[in-house]
């Protein structure tokens, strides 16, 4: 028996349908999270969680179908990178909140954030004939492009905790939301994870560069800004550890780190003459 794949046109339709189904489910989940947060009903948070988890299925299908259509993984073009980053972010949140049910309220900020990534995808050209350059192969390359997905997931959880902290701080204490110290600890923990995963991305990129060009570090603008992001995260963690930075100050610094990471990933390759321009097609 031979397995016949659907043709190119059918795959494109499947990608679009699955993508929009996922978006609708995530949107509904965001609504339930918001309602749960306002009303304090844990049932709404639970429904939001399960809707988001269900949304992962068509999202997986959309990514898989696109992979089959274009013949390469979701790392080459901006639109597919945004989709896979949203996927990683939501996946990481679901893993994190599956056990810590009290922290599901973070989804109120995180899910709309992931939806913004998916919405940004609509404004970008979705070309299908582009093939990966000759340098895009090897184990280090695979680690380099894969590690950014959970790294951004960790960044999103940390930034959501930070925003929720700042939002909640101005309001009277409520039992509906995770407490301020818990949100702060969550921000700290996921900043630590982002530090590890961003570090893995830099290390794998350096090893890949060494294999490709014989130089693991070229002080390229994107390399520099990745290092700056990593150093900023390191600074945040050191300030927390040695200078007792927590709460509001740590939340604002986390927002700064996140902004720099977004600048590094999405804007600098367009603005500067970088060796990373290749992936920005």
């Amino acid at each position: 028996m031979t397995l016949t794949l659907p043709d190119h046109r059918h795959l494109l339709i499947l990608t679009a349908v699955a993508h929009w189904l996922a978006v609708s489910l995530y949107l509904s989940a965001s609504g339930f999270f918001f309602h749960g947060l306002r009303s304090g009903k844990t049932k709404s948070l639970k429904i939001g969680f399960w809707l988001a988890a269900t949304g992962m299925l068509p999202h997986t299908l959309a990514l898989g179908a696109r992979w089959l259509t274009v013949g390469h993984g979701p790392y080459l073009q901006k639109d597919e990178s945004l989709s896979v980053l949203a996927y990683g972010t939501i996946g990481m949140f679901l893993l994190f909140s599956a056990k810590s049910t009290r922290l599901r309220g973070i989804g109120t900020i995180l899910l709309p954030g992931a939806l913004v990534l998916m919405a940004a995808q609509l404004f970008l050209p979705a070309e299908t004939g582009i093939r990966p350059p000759a340098t895009f192969n090897g184990i280090w390359f695979a680690i380099h492009v894969t590690s950014i997905i959970p790294a951004m997931g960790a960044f999103f959880i940390a930034i959501s905790s930070a925003i929720l902290y700042l939002w909640q701080e101005k309001r009277p204490p409520s039992s509906k939301l995770p407490s301020l110290p818990v949100l702060d600890a969550c921000n700290y923990k996921y900043a630590g994870f982002a530090f590890i995963l961003w570090g893995i991305m830099i290390v794998a990129g350096a090893a890949w560069a060494e294999q490709s060009w014989g130089s693991y570090w070229s002080w390229d603008p994107i390399e520099n800004w990745s290092l700056i992001t990593w150093l900023l995260l390191g600074l945040l963690l050191h300030l927390r550890r040695f200078h007792g930075w927590q709460g509001k100050k740590a939340a604002w610094l986390m927002i700064a780190c996140f902004s720099v990471s977004i600048l590094t990933l999405f804007f600098l390759p367009v603005l500067t003459g970088s060796i990373h321009k290749e992936y920005l097609l």
């Binding site: 192969n137 630590g192 590890i196 090893a207 002080w219 800004w225 900023l232 050191h238 300030l239 040695f242």
Partner: protein
């Protein structure tokens, strides 16, 4: 050992060495250094760096802003990463890391010997009552990844520890960073790199003057690899869209002993011989040999390197004047005349030869064909082949660098994913009391814990443990 002496007047006299160590260990120094490296990286992105720019660009820059240019040169901001101040900064970071590591190791070893309950005082929690036996307690804690800590064990006061290795996270992470910095400095001082441009069949003898570009470390001499390399083959492959899929080369290398080896190299797969790595550069194209047989002088060979076009249906254009002659050539080269392709399957060159005050002579030449020129000379399209760049690199400290990378990641993982958690559980008897549900609680559990990071999340975990213990006791 640096000690402080108390002089007669009562003031503490701190030796300069201790001052230095205090400075290096100060959190402010560490944070300032991180900020400085970040700022240097930022400046490296904004200010053009000489190593990436052509002499023409630098000359234009100097002409446009002479004062700014001189200032930038003076402060070495045009070569930040090899500047004296940046290397000093890295040196200070290395010293700070070494001192910090020494004290961190000492502290971790000391903590190894201490009982973890020295700072953990369980507070009685009246709401947490369960008939929990030690056996249930141990089972629940084991399921959560906690292990009993022998030093603090007593029947009523049990101490459990999770992620014991986590206390070495800081040491491992900083050791990794130190390895990376040392390897980077080692390589930056001694590395030797050279790019040779070769056409298929051409031999590179490894002499200094033959490099297209070289880069050597501050303490390294001129790069003269003791080997000869002949580019034996070159094979590009393309996707249907015309993008490059792979580039493969074979290099025949003869080392000092006279032994020859064929080394296949491709992008991301370098070759290795006698401590020298051979990388295939991504640049390639077509090398055209044109021979001018002149009646009045010796034959002139023009060796023209053309870059590969961006798309398969594009021709490569080139203009040149043949040296010491009046002939000006306009070349329109097609690698494959039969179909849109960038492979050298059916190459041809459309030539337009101009001589002053005469109409240009236009013709199409295939390799091996000749054309008679207006002044009685003959131009032959001798041959065409591929050219590519081979990077020869001698690097130092790469294993140390990879070890550093590994340690860094492992250390950060221990620090943030596996923080040490100590839970102290006290079981104290309470007066028998009939509850609403009918159960009679005889014991009260008091749980407390200690961790350095994420205390609030650990507090939630301890609450969950208490609930689990109550549930386990009820099941029993």
């Amino acid at each position: 050992m640096v000690t402080a002496r108390r002089p007669v007047d009562g003031r503490i006299n701190i030796p300069p060495m201790r001052h230095l160590i205090r400075f290096l260990l100060s959190p402010f120094t560490i944070i300032a250094m991180m900020g400085a490296v970040g700022t240097a990286s930022l400046m490296g992105t904004i200010i053009p760096q000489s190593v990436d720019k052509t002499p023409r660009f630098l000359a234009a820059w100097q002409a446009a802003n002479p004062f700014k240019f001189v200032l930038i040169r003076l402060l070495q901001l045009d070569r930040i990463y090899t500047s004296v101040w940046f290397l000093t900064l890295i040196g200070i970071i290395a010293c700070s890391l070494t001192c910090s590591l020494y004290y961190q190791i000492k502290r971790a070893l000391r903590a190894q010997k201490l009982s973890p309950d020295s700072k953990t005082n369980p507070k009685p929690d009246p709401s947490c009552r369960a008939n929990v036996t030690e056996k249930i307690l141990r089972r629940v804690m084991r399921q959560r990844g906690y292990r009993p800590f022998a030093a603090g064990a007593s029947p009523d006061n049990l101490i459990f520890i999770k992620n014991k290795a986590g206390k070495w996270g800081g040491v491992v992470f900083h050791l990794g960073l130190l390895c990376i910095i040392l390897a980077g400095l080692w390589n930056a001082s001694l590395q030797q790199r050279g790019l040779a441009i070769l056409t298929v069949g051409e031999t590179f003898t490894g002499q200094t003057g033959k490099w297209a570009t070289t880069r050597t470390g501050a303490l390294a001499g001129a790069f003269t690899p003791r080997l000869t390399a002949r580019l034996a083959g070159f094979q590009p492959r393309y996707w249907n869209s015309g993008q490059v899929k792979t580039i493969r080369s074979t290099v025949s290398v003869t080392s000092g002993g006279g032994k020859s080896r064929i080394i296949p190299i491709s992008i991301n797969h370098p070759g290795y011989i006698n401590g020298i790595k051979l990388f295939l550069s991504g640049d390639y194209g077509y090398a055209l040999d044109l021979l001018l047989n002149s009646k009045s002088s010796h034959p002139i060979l023009a060796h023209i390197l053309l870059a590969a076009p961006a798309r398969p249906n594009e021709a490569v254009l080139y203009d040149m004047t043949i040296p010491t002659t009046v002939y000006r050539l306009h070349i329109n080269f097609h690698p494959d005349r039969s179909k849109p392709s960038m492979l050298l399957t059916s190459p041809s060159a459309d030539l337009a030869v101009s001589v002053p005050e005469m109409p240009p002579l236009k013709t199409r030449l295939l390799p091996g064909q000749s054309i008679a020129l207006p002044m009685g000379d003959t131009l032959t399209f001798n041959k065409v082949s591929y050219w590519t760049g081979i990077i020869f690199a001698k690097s130092y400290g790469i294993p140390l660098l990879y070890a550093g990378f590994g340690l860094c990641i492992a250390g950060a993982f221990l620090l943030y994913a596996l923080p040490v958690k100590v839970a102290c559980i006290q079981i104290s008897p309470v007066r028998p009391q009939r509850q609403r549900g009918g159960a009679e609680y005889l014991r009260q559990i008091s749980i407390s814990g200690r961790t350095r990071r994420f205390q609030a999340l650990f507090g939630l975990e301890l609450q969950e443990i208490a609930i689990e213990l109550q549930a386990a006791a009820l099941v029993q």
